[in-house]
């Protein structure tokens, strides 16, 4: 850090401390994907967060928002990070209106705590916790989703309203706390998956669903990519109403299709039997979710080192082509590629082990990206080692990037919110 930068931070600290009761010097552990941080502010309310951002604006600080820090290395490293705005003190589940099936929470609330709060009324927020320890804000910023998306969609289908703080410290709301509302622009959609580059979300309202009385998982082995696709197609076009259709494809070839059925005890039993008959082979039902269900495949890798984390999206009918492309690319590059995801939604996550040669990663990424693009989708490198991130276009081509830049310019003209982290250098 330059002397000038240090001086600026010192001046800012006073202003920030009067805005927020918890402002501390950052430690190496606060670094954002290797980028050192100067200060950490932990606001306790939207009003405090707004004061913090106003002070940051005055001093021209570059701000990186943080929920619980479980995905801070996702995306590209920010160009700079003077101040981390940490939302972990804003952890309250503000309101659970069980009769209205809605919940309002602060952004730093743990997804698990939200589930516990609404679970007592037999309800759930239908967002799978694919990264353990995630906050609501981090879940929104990275738009994570899991197996349940087949039936209920993703954050964009569940978020009803948001309170945000802009880069200039202005607080704004959009949406509301009712399940149906078309008044004004849906800013919630815009902030989902924006990686902290537009605004800081401080509160969110979600619609909830009842927890079903029963569930069964039908699993069946699949020998080839074509086999996987055949099985997935059978399930999605049948009348078994799957809550999830998961695909597990190991690096060594061969895989599993898992079908989650949820509903009433009698209904689930009947649908499980129908699913087993439909899928044939070694299809069988269990009450317990299979190992690894809903977990991102790179979480299975050894703790040491940084595996490469991929997200592939594609039209449903291209499932076999994407699996085959991954298998072929990994084979050619001599690496292990583990794919897992929502075959019923056209999303697969991939893991390449830590230490995989960058050229090999590039080859796998290139071939998967081509297969996804042909199927109307995309391949994103969500996370990886500094070498991997430096060695390729991690976000890939993005249509409408000019329009996205214009949105960014409106919300954050000084590029002070997580600059460089998002698509196209946004």
């Amino acid at each position: 850090m330059t002397t000038a930068a240090r001086t600026r931070l010192d001046s800012a600290r006073t202003a920030l401390s009067s805005a927020c009761s918890e402002v501390v010097d950052a430690t190496p552990a606060d670094a954002v994907d290797g980028v050192p941080v100067g200060l950490v502010a932990r606001p306790a309310s939207t009003a405090e967060a707004a004061e913090v951002l106003r002070a940051a604006a005055v001093f021209g600080l570059v701000v990186v928002p943080r929920g619980r820090g479980t995905k801070t290395s996702w995306g590209r490293p920010p160009e700079q990070a003077d101040l981390v705005v940490d939302l972990s003190r804003m952890s309250a589940v503000v309101e659970h209106a069980a009769g209205d099936l809605i919940v309002k929470t602060e952004a730093g609330a743990l997804l698990a705590d939200v589930q516990a709060a609404v679970g007592s009324a037999g309800q759930r927020l239908s967002l799978d916790e694919v990264v353990p320890g995630s906050s609501i804000g981090g879940t929104l910023a990275t738009n994570t989703s899991g197996p349940g998306r087949v039936a209920v969609g993703t954050a964009r289908d569940l978020l009803l309203g948001v309170t945000v703080v802009r880069a200039d410290g202005v607080v704004a709301k959009a949406g509301g706390r009712v399940v149906k509302n078309v008044a004004g622009y849906d800013l919630g959609k815009l902030v989902i998956g924006s990686f902290g580059t537009l605004v800081i979300v401080t509160e969110a309202v979600f619609r909830l669903h009842p927890v079903p009385a029963a569930r069964r998982v039908v699993s069946v082995s699949a020998g080839s990519p074509d086999d996987v696709q055949r099985l997935v197609q059978l399930v999605v076009h049948a009348q078994v109403v799957p809550a999830a259709v998961e695909v597990e494809w190991s690096g060594t070839g061969g895989g599993t299709v898992g079908v989650l059925l949820e509903g009433t005890a009698a209904g689930v039993e009947g649908r499980a039997a129908a699913t087993i008959a439909l899928l044939g082979g070694d299809a069988h039902a269990t009450d317990e979710l299979p190992a690894g269900w809903g977990r991102l495949p790179w979480a299975d890798e050894p703790v040491a080192g940084r595996p490469t984390a991929l997200k592939a999206t594609f039209a449903l009918s291209a499932l076999s082509r994407v699996l085959a492309a991954g298998q072929a690319a990994a084979g050619a590059a001599g690496v292990q590629l583990h794919l897992r995801g929502s075959g019923g939604a056209g999303v697969l996550y991939g893991a390449l082990p830590a230490g995989t040669d960058v050229a090999a990663v590039r080859e796998v990424v290139g071939r998967l990206r081509e297969a996804c693009a042909l199927a109307g989708g995309a391949l994103v490198v969500l996370d990886g080692s500094p070498e991997v991130k430096a060695g390729m276009d991690t976000w890939g081509p993005v249509p409408a990037i000019d329009l996205m830049r214009r949105v960014k310019e409106q919300f954050d003209p000084e590029r002070r919110l997580a600059p460089g982290r998002f698509v196209g250098g946004i």
Binding site: D157, A174, Y185, K189, L190, P210, T313, F314, G346, M404
Partner: protein, 518 residues
């Protein structure tokens, strides 16, 4: 399938009250006549000869959408047949600073497609190709003028349908649905247009063609598509659109339950939702709405009912059977005196006919009426309904209630006779007071009809200046010149950082006195 995910009678324009004067919100004919002449030249050079309308008599055909009390004759109507043609017209508008308004079938109920007197109305009714029904991908790719119900008709042979079913689905277009984020009776379970539109080609207000989303989910970058859906044509014009197709359910059961009062029907609704049952639809009508529907379509609803519920369950047969038993019990426990289960498509269609024709049917019992679209938390239903009844009796203005009870979306129909002096004003006061009730109960001013020109003046009651200003940052990113459906949604346009003074009127709706119209 008939009547399940909703066939119905065609909704005509909704008559209302207080046509606004030609204002700066709607533009003034002759403003920027040189620009309009230039755009007209481009349109003539680009479109089919009969795709450009500037004959004053023909133009009047397009003077309103489904909210017929707002009328403005556009300076020009363009009927493009392709995205490229449409983009060429928009590009010309952008070059010459001529405002444009997109229109699908013109069924909107908030004046969202109200033309500009100084602008071009771009009508998508000649863009009606269903490009692909992709069963394997559970998607359809359609042009913006395609009629909502035609998507379902095309997908039904494959075992699929398009879930959002606004009441006007026989005539409304996918492009209009996208602009308005249209709902419908079945959005309780299946969500709104925004949950079902996965990709769209967007013609930006500069006339560029960009692809947002597509066949695959989670496109990297900002979810501009999610922002464009429901933006009421203010961020550009969506053309070829990719929508989700939903598997036709194995079983559908439609139940008609008669109650003595809306309180009882509301309690039954709450009991159903609280028990974790998620019907495809729960619709309520009160006595006055039932009377109107009977007069219009003879739907034979239970005699003497103070309220009816139409409850539809769909899904896997085993689940539906179980849920039906629960629903039946909750209705009976809460006072239902008659339960009628439709056992075939004809019976189902008859039950739905009463509900879906209700708006038009109100014309049978009142010469004029205002339709509201407020939303409240569903637990507030009984309280708000009582408050509406109190408003009605204290003002002497009759209010018929038809609504999506499951998700708290009210459609009070405020009845009046415009021939009686002061009646229109009294009706507007009641209508406005109902929206105030919705807001004070934590609700919203519109659940599915949109803000348009009709409710723009109400936006400040729901949102702060900062909220509206922040929303308009998006507007400025997409449309810095404020030419894409200007004057809609926001009561006051935000200056997008360009040289001030470019506009003649800074606060058109306020200046025009529209804010006082409520």
């Amino acid at each position: 399938m008939s009547g399940t995910h909703g066939t119905e009678t065609t909704a005509g324009p909704v008559e209302g009250h207080v046509p606004p004067e030609a204002t700066s919100a709607t533009g003034e004919a002759g403003d920027n006549s040189a620009g309009m002449a230039a755009v007209t030249r481009v349109a003539r050079a680009t479109l089919s000869p009969n795709g450009v309308i500037d004959d004053p008599t023909e133009l009047r055909t397009y003077e309103c959408d489904g909210l017929a009390h707002y009328r403005v004759t556009p300076a020009l109507v363009a009927l493009p047949e392709t995205t490229e043609q449409l983009a060429a017209v928009v590009r010309a508008c952008s070059e010459h600073r001529v405002p444009f308004v997109a229109r699908g079938s013109g069924t909107g109920l908030s004046g969202g497609a109200l033309p500009r007197a100084d602008g071009v109305l771009i009508v998508t009714s000649r863009m009606r190709t269903i490009r692909e029904i992709r069963r394997e991908d559970q998607r359809a790719v359609v042009d913006p003028g395609v009629i909502n119900l035609d998507v379902t008709r095309a997908a039904t042979p494959e075992g699929y349908y398009y879930a959002p079913d606004p009441s006007s689905q026989q005539i409304c277009s996918i492009g209009g649905n996208l602009a308005e984020n249209s709902g419908g009776a079945h959005c309780l379970k299946y969500g709104f247009t925004s949950n079902h539109v996965l990709g769209a080609e967007l013609v930006t207000p500069q006339g560029d063609i960009v692809q947002l989303g597509g066949l695959a989910p989670d496109a990297p970058g900002y979810d501009l598509l999610g922002t464009v859906v429901g933006s009421e044509g203010t961020l550009g014009i969506a053309t070829t659109t990719t929508v989700r197709l939903v598997r036709l359910p194995e079983e559908v059961r439609t139940l008609l339950a008669g109650f003595r009062s809306t309180d009882e029907a509301g309690a039954a609704t709450s009991a159903i939702i609280s028990a974790g049952v998620l019907p495809a639809a729960i619709e309520m009508m009160d006595a006055l709405a039932i009377e109107a529907a009977e007069a219009a379509v003879h739907c034979n609803y239970p005699a003497g009912a103070g309220a009816v519920l139409v409850i539809e369950l769909d899904g896997a047969s085993a689940e539906v059977e179980h849920e039906y038993a629960q629903v039946e019990r909750f209705c009976t426990e809460n006072g239902a005196f008659e339960l009628r289960l439709a056992t075939d498509p004809a019976e189902r269609a008859l039950i739905w006919k009463g509900r879906k024709s209700a708006f038009a049917a109100v014309g049978r019992i009142s010469p004029d009426y205002i339709v509201q679209d407020g939303v409240i938390p569903r637990t507030a239903l009984p309280e708000v309904l009582r408050a509406i009844a109190a408003l009605s009796s204290s003002s002497g203005v009759r209010v018929a209630n038809v609504f999506h009870a499951g998700d708290g979306n009210l459609h009070p129909l405020v009845l009046f006779d415009d021939a009686r002096p002061g009646a229109g004003r009294a009706a507007e006061e009641v209508s406005g007071a109902i929206l105030d009730l919705c807001i004070s109960h934590g609700g919203a001013i519109t659940g599915e009809h949109g803000v348009g020109v009709d409710k723009a003046a109400y936006m400040p009651k729901m949102f702060t200046d900062d909220d509206l200003d922040t929303m308009q940052m998006v507007r400025c990113a997409f449309d810095p010149d404020n030419i894409s459906n200007p004057g809609k949604v926001f009561p006051t346009p935000r200056l997008c950082g360009e040289v001030p003074g470019k506009r003649k009127h800074a606060h058109p709706l306020v200046e025009a006195g529209l804010a006082d119209a409520f």
